[in-house]
């Protein structure tokens, strides 16, 4: 019979675990390695969240109750095909529709000149009925929406990369425009948004009279399914999506490009941490054979020793993982203030999931060296 300490672990196992505890420099190095790995994994997931958040922030903005798309398109990103802009007028006349506005989305080359240097980015140009039409910037860090043809609102990360601020001039497809607003929630990581009046974007991109999407705001009391069915019946060649579906589709598309790469790098990160833990526990077993032999001779069971070692491995992984999670949160705050080009959204659910994954992998990794306990001969206690 063994005494229980109240934390579910018998007193002897607790003392065995304490006896095997090993926190010299190499343990801290292992913690640092696990922390770095978990930081990497959490930061990568947070980067995906950040990009996905921007898509959601834009697509789910107030008033965007229905999205009308060209045939075959079911999301906001990377689609081809256009609609006739006059379709908005027809939709606007339907019952249950309070407003219908054209969105023209085209990649545009944006450049700036600062201190003799030229900076250039390719951005998502969003043309809308500025300044108050549907589909404008979801939020501003500074400034306002464009109200003239030669005015633009620019994602703040893009502004930083271009080295411009409010009232500075940028060149959109070669034409100068004044920056009147800096937007947030508009950074897709690989590119950012720039907002201008639809007429300006149409002129710059050669899409005059065309629309990428038509956003519909429903009249009070109108039901999205009913209005969508009407639009579908009246214009059978277009796609019609309610907000929730369009958001989900766009999130799926945002992740599609990143997820395989992120998963691969994340697996490498978790694997590196697992190898570190296995190496440390292996070293622990080998360097403390004498003490392990003494414990076995005194009556400790291999299960107690394995439990002690796995506890030690778990402590290392939890310490490293929590440290990495904290660093990821810190990094998100610092990047947001200092270098918003990389939008990190550290989510508690993701963090807990990553920590659980690290603990599981660390515990599994420690099983290999723990299995070597069987090679420890209690007789070594007499030779120590």
């Amino acid at each position: 019979m063994t005494a229980d300490t109240g934390d579910g672990i018998s007193a002897d196992v607790r003392l065995v675990a304490k006896a095997l505890r090993n926190w010299p420099a190499r343990a801290w190095l292992a913690v640092g390695g696990v922390a770095t790995s978990s930081l990497l994994v959490i930061a990568l997931v947070a980067a995906l969240r950040g990009a996905s958040h921007s898509v959601v922030a834009y697509v789910s903005q107030d008033g965007a109750d229905l999205w009308i798309t060209p045939p075959g398109a079911d999301h906001f990103l990377r689609l081809s095909g256009v609609l006739p802009a006059v379709l908005a007028d027809s939709v606007r006349s339907l019952p249950g529709v309070a407003a219908a506005d054209v969105i023209l989305r085209a990649f545009v080359a944006v450049s700036s000149r600062r201190r003799g240097a030229r900076f250039r980015l390719t951005l998502y140009g969003i043309g809308y009925r500025a300044p108050e039409g549907l589909g404008g910037p979801p939020a501003f860090a500074a400034g306002r929406a464009p109200s003239k043809l030669r005015e633009v609102a620019l994602d703040r990360a893009a502004a930083r990369r271009l080295g411009v601020g409010l009232d500075d001039t940028v060149f959109v497809n070669g034409r100068g425009a004044r920056v009147v607003g800096l937007t947030t929630g508009t950074n897709l990581l690989v590119t950012q948004f720039i907002f201008a009046d639809a007429t300006a974007i149409a002129a710059l991109s050669g899409f005059a009279g065309r629309a990428s999407f038509i956003i519909v705001r429903l009249a009070p009391g109108a039901h999205s399914d009913t209005v969508a069915a009407q639009i579908g019946a009246r214009f059978p060649d277009v796609g019609v999506f309610d907000r929730a579906t369009f958001v989900a589709n766009s999130q799926r598309e945002a992740g599609a490009g990143y997820v395989p790469v992120l998963a691969f790098v994340d697996i490498l990160g978790v694997g590196a941490a697992a190898v570190l833990v296995a190496l440390l526990i292996h070293t622990l077993v080998e360097s403390r054979r004498a003490e392990l032999a003494v414990l076995l001779a005194l009556g400790a069971t291999p299960g107690m020793l394995a439990g002690g070692l796995i506890r030690e491995a778990t402590r290392l992984v939890v310490t490293g993982g929590v440290l990495g999670a904290g660093l990821a949160r810190l990094l998100a705050v610092v990047l947001d203030r200092v270098y918003p080009v990389i939008p990190l959204r550290v989510d508690w659910g993701d963090t807990l999931w990553v920590l659980a994954l690290f603990i599981a992998c660390g515990t599994l990794a420690s099983a290999i060296p723990v299995a070597r306990l069987g090679r420890v001969d209690p007789l070594e206690a007499f030779r120590a």
Binding site: T2, A3, A300, T301, A381, F382
Partner: protein
């Protein structure tokens, strides 16, 4: 009362060309209250005999009865439990666990022997008092002298009231004064607790504390087993 009985025990260590007959038809009995010195040169088989007596090593032939139970009849887990309850070890080096204090080292042994937390604490306090080492309780092994370490090692061997204390060269690394203190502590094992004490040694300083000496040469005990024990 006989605590340890070895009958015709043989053990070969290693295999093939490296095989060594560590014990050859060894028979020995040790009774409660005895302090038996197992005297022999290095490699004579002293440590193997202690390991066989404790059930750490299974003999190739012969029988070992420890505190009334034949070890051959016990499963490995039962043998471990039996060993933890009835055997105390004193090693050449104290082999105290370096991350634990002296108190925790002794407490752990009581817990491994199956005592509840309260019982373990009580017995640990008692043995520290009996050996007059309470002042050493909060120290870690690295903060103890060699003699102090070994006295804590003796406390660890005694805390759970074992029937048999096995000591392997307990004074081998100690100078004269420290060695004497440890020898006295070992003698106290039999006096205070009535334990049988089997000491593997070639240290002549232990002789005055022994009730019996058993020479061992090349794995053979030059001693007939006591009748009726």
């Amino acid at each position: 009362m006989t605590v340890l009985l070895l009958e015709g025990v043989s053990k070969t260590r290693g295999t093939g060309a490296h095989a060594t007959r560590a014990l050859r038809d060894a028979s020995l009995s040790v009774a409660s209250g005895e302090v038996v010195l197992l005297e022999g040169a290095s490699g004579a088989g002293k440590t193997t005999l202690l390991a066989v007596a404790a059930g750490l090593v299974t003999p190739d032939a012969g029988r070992v009865v420890l505190a009334g139970r034949s070890l051959a009849d016990l499963s490995p887990a039962a043998r471990r439990r039996h060993r933890a309850r009835v055997v105390g070890f004193v090693f050449q080096r104290s082999n105290l666990l370096e991350r634990l204090t002296a108190w925790e080292n002794v407490l752990l042994m009581a817990q491994l022997a199956g005592r509840t937390a309260a019982e373990a604490r009580g017995e640990t306090e008692k043995v520290f008092a009996q050996l007059d080492i309470a002042h050493l309780a909060p120290r870690r092994p690295e903060e103890l002298s060699g003699g102090e370490e070994q006295r804590v090692g003796v406390a660890r061997a005694l805390v759970h009231g074992p029937a048999l204390v096995l000591a392997d060269e307990p004074t081998g690394n100690l100078d004269g004064a420290a060695g004497r203190v440890v020898a006295e502590a070992l003698a106290a094992c039999s006096k205070l607790r009535g334990a049988a004490v089997l000491v593997a040694t070639h240290d002549a300083r232990l002789a005055p504390f022994a009730t019996r000496k058993v020479p061992i040469v090349d794995g053979r005990l030059d001693y007939p087993p006591s009748d009726g024990q």
